[in-house]
C-alpha cells in the first residue's frame, strides 16, 4: 500500500456510516474500571491519615469517613472494592488471554511502531509551533493513547500487588512500608495520565466520537478515516476483499472459548465443572462463613409448612421445635435462599445448552411409571438419610469435606459404599 493508491472516498458518505471499534466486553471493562477508580480514589484519599501526605481537605476526609461509619469500615470498603477490581481483571486475563490480552492489549493498545514515534515527535513540535509537518497516520489507537495505556498497564500490577501487601500485611514491616510508598507513587503516575485521558475523552471536541464509541462501540467512518487512518484502511481493505469475493471467507466470528463452553451441549469435563464448583464453594465460605447445601433447605421449607398448618404441633414436637421457634423466622436461613439460586442456575445452564425439556431419565428395562415410583422411594430414603447424617452430598460431603470435617469423610465413604454395592443389586433399573 503506497500513498499513491490512497483511496479518496466522498467524505459525505463517510460521515453517515458507523464502523465497529470496541467489543462490548471492552466497553464494560472500561466503565467498570472507571467506576472502581472513582471509588478507590475517593476512599483512598480519605484514608490518608498522615498530615504530611494528605492532599485533600479535612472536611472531605470527615465526610467520606462518616458516610461509611468508621475509618475501619472505610478501609474494609476500599479493600473489598480493590479485591473486586483484581478479580474482574483476573477473569478477563484468564478467560480472555488470547482475545483481550494478546489481541487487544498487546497488539492494539500498547504496540508503538515507527509512525507512532514520529507522531509523538511531530505532535510535540507542532504544539511548540516548530513544525508544520502533517501527522503520520495512526492505527486504531494513536500514539498518545498508546503511551497512556502502556503506563497504566505497567502501573496496574504495581497497584494491585502493593495493595495486597498493605491490606494483608504480607511480609516484614519494611516491605509493607515500601508498598505504601509504591502504591501512592503508582497511583500518582496513573492519575497524572488520567487527567489528560479524561480531558481528551470528556471535553476535547475533536475526540467526541471516541467518547461515544466507549458507549456504543461504534465510530463514524469519517472519524476513523481522519484520526485512525491505518486502522480505517485495514477495515476497508477487508471489506473490499470480501465484497469482491476474493478474500478468505469473512472471518466467521468464532465464538470465544467462554461462549462456546457456555453453550456446549455436552457436559463439561468433570475437572472443569469441579473447579467452578470449588471456586463457588470457596466464595461461599468467604462470604457467609458456611458451605453450600441442599437438604437443610428442604427441612426448613417443610418446617415452614408445618408451622403454618400446625403451629402448635411443630413448636411442641421434639424434632421440629429445633426449627420452629416462636418469634424466629423459619425461613431465615442461607440454604433456603441458596436453593432458589440453585434452581435458577440450573435453568440458565440448561437453557444455554439446550437441555430444557420434560423428560424422564431411566434405564432401558423399566417403564417411566416404575422409574417415577422408584425415584420417589429413593428420594424418601435419601431425605431420611440426609437428616440422620445432618447433611447430604452437598451440605455434608462437599462442604464438610472442604473443611476436612471428620464426619464428612465417614459419610462420604458410606455413601459410596452403599452406592457401589446397591448398584450391583439394582442393575435391572439402570442397565
Amino acid at each position: 500500500m503506497s500513498s499513491a493508491t490512497q483511496v479518496q472516498p466522498p467524505l459525505r458518505d463517510l460521515s453517515q456510516r458507523m464502523i465497529k471499534k470496541h467489543h462490548v466486553a471492552i466497553i464494560l471493562l472500561h466503565w467498570f474500571n472507571a467506576i472502581t477508580w472513582l471509588i478507590e480514589l475517593t476512599t483512598g484519599a480519605a484514608l490518608i491519615s498522615s498530615e504530611h501526605f494528605r492532599f485533600v481537605p479535612v472536611w472531605f476526609v470527615t465526610m467520606i469517613t462518616e458516610v461509611s461509619g468508621t475509618r475501619a469500615n472505610l478501609l474494609r470498603f476500599h479493600i473489598a472494592a480493590g479485591l473486586t477490581w483484581i478479580t474482574v481483571f483476573a477473569v478477563y486475563a484468564i478467560f480472555g488471554w488470547q482475545t483481550y490480552f494478546h489481541q487487544e492489549v498487546l497488539e492494539r493498545e500498547v504496540a508503538l511502531d515507527k509512525d507512532d514515534f514520529n507522531w509523538l515527535r511531530i505532535r510535540v513540535l507542532r504544539i511548540l509551533g516548530r513544525s508544520n509537518e502533517p501527522l503520520p497516520p495512526q492505527g486504531i489507537y494513536n500514539a498518545g493513547q498508546k503511551m497512556f495505556a502502556l503506563m497504566v498497564y505497567v502501573m496496574i500490577p504495581v497497584i494491585m500487588g502493593t495493595g495486597l501487601v498493605m491490606a494483608f500485611h504480607w511480609g516484614p514491616m519494611t516491605l509493607v512500608g515500601w508498598a505504601v510508598v509504591l502504591h501512592f507513587a503508582a497511583v500518582a503516575v496513573v492519575v497524572s495520565g488520567l487527567m489528560v485521558h479524561v480531558y481528551m475523552g470528556a471535553v476535547f471536541p475533536e475526540e467526541k466520537p471516541a467518547f461515544f464509541s466507549m458507549l456504543t462501540g461504534m465510530v463514524p467512518e469519517e472519524f476513523a478515516y481522519k484520526h485512525h487512518h491505518k486502522w480505517w484502511k485495514e477495515v476497508k481493505m477487508l471489506e473490499e476483499l470480501h465484497a469482491a469475493g476474493l478474500a478468505e471467507p469473512r472471518p466467521v466470528p468464532r465464538p470465544s472459548r467462554l461462549a462456546a463452553a457456555l453453550r456446549m451441549k455436552e457436559h463439561w469435563p468433570g475437572y472443569w465443572a469441579g473447579f467452578g464448583l470449588g471456586l463457588t464453594l470457596l466464595a461461599t465460605f468467604l462470604i457467609v462463613g458456611q458451605g453450600l447445601g441442599a437438604s437443610g433447605g428442604f427441612t426448613r421449607y417443610l418446617a415452614f409448612v408445618l408451622s403454618l398448618v400446625a403451629p402448635g404441633y411443630a413448636s411442641a414436637h421434639p424434632y421440629w421445635s429445633n426449627y420452629v421457634q416462636p418469634g424466629q423466622p423459619v425461613l431465615m436461613d442461607f440454604l433456603v435462599f441458596e436453593l432458589i439460586g440453585v434452581a435458577l442456575g440450573g435453568v440458565v445452564s440448561g437453557w444455554l445448552a439446550g437441555h430444557l425439556k420434560w423428560t424422564t431419565d431411566k434405564g432401558p428395562r423399566i417403564s417411566p411409571r416404575t422409574r417415577w415410583a422408584l425415584a420417589f422411594l429413593g428420594g424418601a430414603i435419601s431425605g431420611a438419610g440426609a437428616r440422620l447424617a445432618r447433611g447430604c452430598t452437598s451440605g455434608l460431603a462437599l462442604s464438610g469435606g472442604s473443611v476436612l470435617s471428620a464426619g464428612a469423610f465417614v459419610f462420604m465413604l458410606s455413601v459410596f459404599a452403599a452406592g457401589f454395592i446397591g448398584a450391583y443389586f439394582l442393575r435391572r433399573i439402570w442397565l
Partner: protein, 201 residues
C-alpha cells in the same frame, strides 16, 4: 486489621449473596451433567467417574483455597462453620443416602437442578425427599438416642490425626490426585464396567 473474611452481611446482602452463590452452584452442577440420573448413576457402575471427579476437584479447590487464605490471614478459619461429627448416625445416614441415590438416581442437590430443567423423575425424587424428611421427623423422637450417638463435636480429620490443617489439606489433594488417576484408568485401561457386569458399555 483482623481477617477480612468471612464477612458479616446485612439481611438484604445475605439473601442476595445466598441466591447468587446458589446460582453458580446450580449452574456448575448442571454443566457437570449432574442433572441426569443416568450420568450420576453411571458412577456406581464404573462407567463414568464424573461424580468423583467433580466432587473431589471441588473439595480440593475449596480446601486448598481456605487453607491458603487462612495462612495469609485473609480468612479467619475459626469463624468458618465445621459440621458437628456424629459418627454412627452419619455412617448410617450415608448408607441410606447412598441407597436412595442408586434407587432414585439423584441426591437432594442434583435433584433440584434436574427438576429445574424438566426431569420428571427428579420431581418425583424431590417429592420423596419431603416425605422422607417428614417421616424422619416423625420417628426421630423414638430413635433420638441413636441420632445423637458418637457425638464428637466439630472435629476435623487433622485434629483427629493431630497434624496441622495445612498438612491435612495437602494430603487430601494428593489423595485426590491418586483418585483421579484411578478414575481415568477405570474409564480407560481397566474396563471395570465390563469386568464387573460382563458386557460392553
Amino acid at each position: 486489621m483482623t481477617a477480612l473474611f468471612p464477612l458479616s452481611l446485612s439481611t438484604g446482602a445475605f439473601v442476595f449473596a445466598a441466591i447468587a452463590l446458589g446460582f453458580f452452584f446450580g449452574f456448575f452442577l448442571e454443566r457437570a451433567g449432574f442433572s441426569s440420573s443416568l450420568k450420576l448413576t453411571a458412577q456406581f457402575y464404573f462407567k463414568d467417574w464424573g461424580v468423583l471427579k467433580v466432587m473431589f476437584s471441588a473439595i480440593v479447590v475449596a480446601c486448598l483455597g481456605l487453607a491458603w487464605l487462612s495462612l495469609a490471614g485473609i480468612v479467619d478459619f475459626s469463624q468458618i462453620y465445621v459440621p458437628d461429627a456424629y459418627l454412627w448416625p452419619q455412617l448410617a445416614g450415608g448408607l441410606l443416602l447412598g441407597a436412595g441415590f442408586i434407587l432414585g438416581g439423584y441426591c437432594p442437590g442434583t435433584a433440584v437442578v434436574a427438576g429445574a430443567i424438566g426431569k420428571l423423575d427428579a420431581l418425583f425424587f424431590l417429592g420423596g425427599i419431603f416425605a422422607g424428611i417428614f417421616g424422619f421427623g416423625l420417628v426421630e423422637p423414638s430413635i433420638h438416642s441413636f441420632n445423637v450417638s458418637g457425638a464428637l463435636g466439630p472435629l476435623t480429620l487433622p485434629q483427629w490425626l493431630n497434624i496441622s490443617h495445612g498438612v491435612g489439606a495437602f494430603a487430601l489433594a494428593v489423595i485426590a490426585l491418586g483418585a483421579f488417576w484411578a478414575a481415568e484408568n477405570s474409564e480407560g485401561k481397566w474396563q471395570l464396567f465390563r469386568k464387573t457386569y460382563g458386557r460392553e458399555q
